[in-house]
Amino acid sequence: MLSLQHISKYYQVGGNKNFVINDISLDIDEGEFISIMGPSGSGKSTLLNIIGMLDEPTDGFHYFVDQPVHQLKEKQRAALYKQYIGFVFQAYHLIDELTVYENIETPLIYQDVKGSERKAMVADMLDRFQIVGKKDLFPAQLSGGQQQLVGIARALIAKPKLLLADEPTGNLNSKQGEEIMELFRKLNKEDGVTIIQVTHSEKNAEYGTRIINLLDGRVESSRKL
């Protein structure tokens, strides 16, 4: 599904290059559920952002669904991104001014989905996550677990092939965290969504099919489960 070859990201500090990602090569197939682990500052989030095209590497080649991302123009990249990728954040990042319903609907608006179709899709998603009763509430009126559910629903609404999650359970208690992980596993198994998550938790990492350990911007180890 995607392939990173010799990807580096560094900042020029004085005369030195300060590497965040240092020559990482990585192939990910469709249907995988990957957990990226590593200590703070090891480059996990940056790697995830590069995969998600939110960030650009300084060097290297990036292929996504057989397209050379490093050669694409901003517009083409955005189109690719919109079509294939969903993002889940540790801090949920819901838009405070929008209701649950509207938050979930927003990506569809950016994809020019028609109003009636949007309605059906959002209703479907609300139903699936059992949050129909909360659809008119604003984020501030929800618990953390519920907000993250909305965040995931929003990430999935456009039927992405790849779900990227940056410490999705980091702000949740263990029970809520488990529920989210169960949900991820189900999405991966039943719907075939490829998932890449960044996590600190060994336990959560175990939900995946492969664990990649980063250290100082390099892949330290990679093991299949």
Binding site: S45, D55, K82, H93, I95, E97, E102, I109
Partner: protein, 788 residues
Amino acid sequence: MLKNNFKIAWRNLTNNKVYSAINIMGLAAGMAVALLIGLWVNYQYSFDKYLPNYGQSYQVRRNFNSNGDTLTFSSTSLKLADALRNNYPEIEYVAETDGGREHGLMVGNTKLLLTGKQAGADFFKIFSFPFIEGNADGLKDPYSIVLTESTAKALFGSKNAMNQMVKVDNKNNLKVTGIIKDLPANSSLALNYIIPFSYFEIVDPGVKAARKQSFGNNGFELFAKLKDGIKYSQLAPKIKNMEQYEDNLNAKNSDVIMQPIQDWHLYNTYTNGKASGGFIEYVRIFSIIGILVLMIACINFINLTTARSEKRAREVGIRKAIGSQRKQLILQFLTESVLVTFVAFLFAIVIVLLALSSFNTLAGTSIFLPYTSGWFWLITLGCTFSTAIIAGSRPAFYLSSFNPVQVLKGTIQTARGAALSRKALVIVQFSCSIVLIISTVIIYQQIQHAKNRPTGYATNRLVTSTTNDDINANAVAIKHALLQSGAVASITTSSSTATGINWHSDVDNFPGKNPGETVEMGMIAVSEDYFKTLGMQLKEGHDFIGNAKADSSNVILNEAGVKRLRLTNPVGQTLTKFGRKMNIIGVVKDALMDSPFQAADPSLFFFDGGGNIIYRLSPGMNTHEAIEKVSAIFNSYSPASPFAYRFVDDDYNQKFNLELLVGKLAGIFAGLAIFISCLGLFGLAAYVAEQRTKEIGVRKVLGATVAQVWLLLSKDFVLLVVISCVIASPIALYFLQNWLNKYTYRITIGPGVFIISAVAAITITLLTISYQAIKAAIANPVKSLRSE
């Protein structure tokens, strides 16, 4: 998408009430000013447009060469009227009129003294005033009169005025042959009725004779309409020298020109024979001020929106992360700015509606909101939309440029560049405001300066009335009765009022005159006790004897007149005027009868008397009582005409009307500009206080006092205002010096006004931001630190 954008915009508006209120209030005030000025400018341009022949109507004027200086006069001769009428096929109609003066109109017991014109037969063909009843043909009969609707109503009440008689000046009955609609307020001509010029020629044989006399006999106004398709530029070279074949110094030095009707109102100042400016200058200045005030309001919007960007940054990040393109974000932010601007526009309309009547009173206009006009809405809504785009673009482009990764991590710093450009914009705002403040102060200083100028005569308790035939016939008796009554201390008559010189002419000959030279002066006919009544002081020589025969060859000059004639020992010398030698028997000190801002007009006083009675009320008597007594005496001798009087000091004060209007408008707009600027500053101060909450908390824990924190927060803003003062002062100095150069008698601009304006601006700034600064300073640091 659009609906969604509006929804978000609306929620943002209602969730941040203080910011929204500041934004909307500021924009609404700015737009109200711009709208008001726009309406005012449009009103000034709308003058005379109601006339169907707007494009082809002209007033004939003369450029008179007075020793190299070109003076432009609107007084022309009847000979010129006939010459234009008969010799130029390009001209369709010519109408001669008098200058427009007051006549007594009487119907039964109703007596009115109103201004009207005596006009030639083609007057209505040039000025097609809409007739309610009757038509222009009636004017062919000399004994006819056309009334305006309100004059008819005032004279006849609810009765139909058509074909009724009006007694004019207690002499002849004129038949009402037409009633026209009242002239609108935006009309250059002001008249209450029109009498045929042929009637004028019957009652005043001098007028009839004038038609056969020379081009030099200038005492009439001429209006003309060119044939359709004829451009003035085609005609101009043909008429320019038409007077100059006549062997007459006055005519020889006169060029004939015409001024199109569309320039009458705005281009009323002639320099070197060209309508170079006039009121148009103020129209332009205020147009610029309107745009500046609107710009100041837009800057508020820009600054507050970008300042709040940190709050919006996260939203931008999320939206980008879930698939929004920059274009879509820009559209979203522009939608917000459109919404805010249109809400502000609604408020602006309300403000204008509420302020319009006071504004009209102040500016002497009759402006209304033309809400039935499609153009009005098209233009205002178009401008509102452009404002939204202009004000919204900077925030939209700035906000949408955030990198999602950085803002979501919370690592983004408000860019230094943004803070810097915010400061630059604040400086722009305050510079404009301070320029306006300085201008207001200087305009008022100039007015005060001219008001304090010694006039050379005493205006207090001095009263003017006009004569009529009844009064003239009983002049001696009236004078006697007035003095006898104790109400009047002194009385005289003159051809001019005390506050104007209505006849300028050239002196035919005088000692030291160069060949071919024309020297133009104010000519004032006076009678006995003129200088005594006005309180003018003789500098040399003696006053008129008071005997018409003995004084018929005596003249008195003022100091400026002596200077113009270059005489060293004027008293005892002779000059030629009115075709005879006149002895200069005295010199009076200059008096400001014309403009209080210019040098005194060179004037020549000769003994004849005239249509204005000037008298000073006795100092001992209460004004009201004195006027009652005077009124009774006039009414007993002149029963057909209502007693009318004007106080000379009121007339004199009217000479400041334009300057006072400009001063008042500048003051109001300066006030609003500084208000809007401070509104923005208030918002920015709130933002800065919020942004630095943690810093302030830490400082307080470390022992900072409230005063220290206040100083910390205030000094940045004060610095901006100080910079603004430094920028504004030379700009204001440059423009105001230019403005002052129009006035011969003017103030010198000292440093005081700049210091006062700077102190005022800084004080206002401190007051504005202190609320936020002190609020932040007295907040409990434990609270602010915990909230982090």
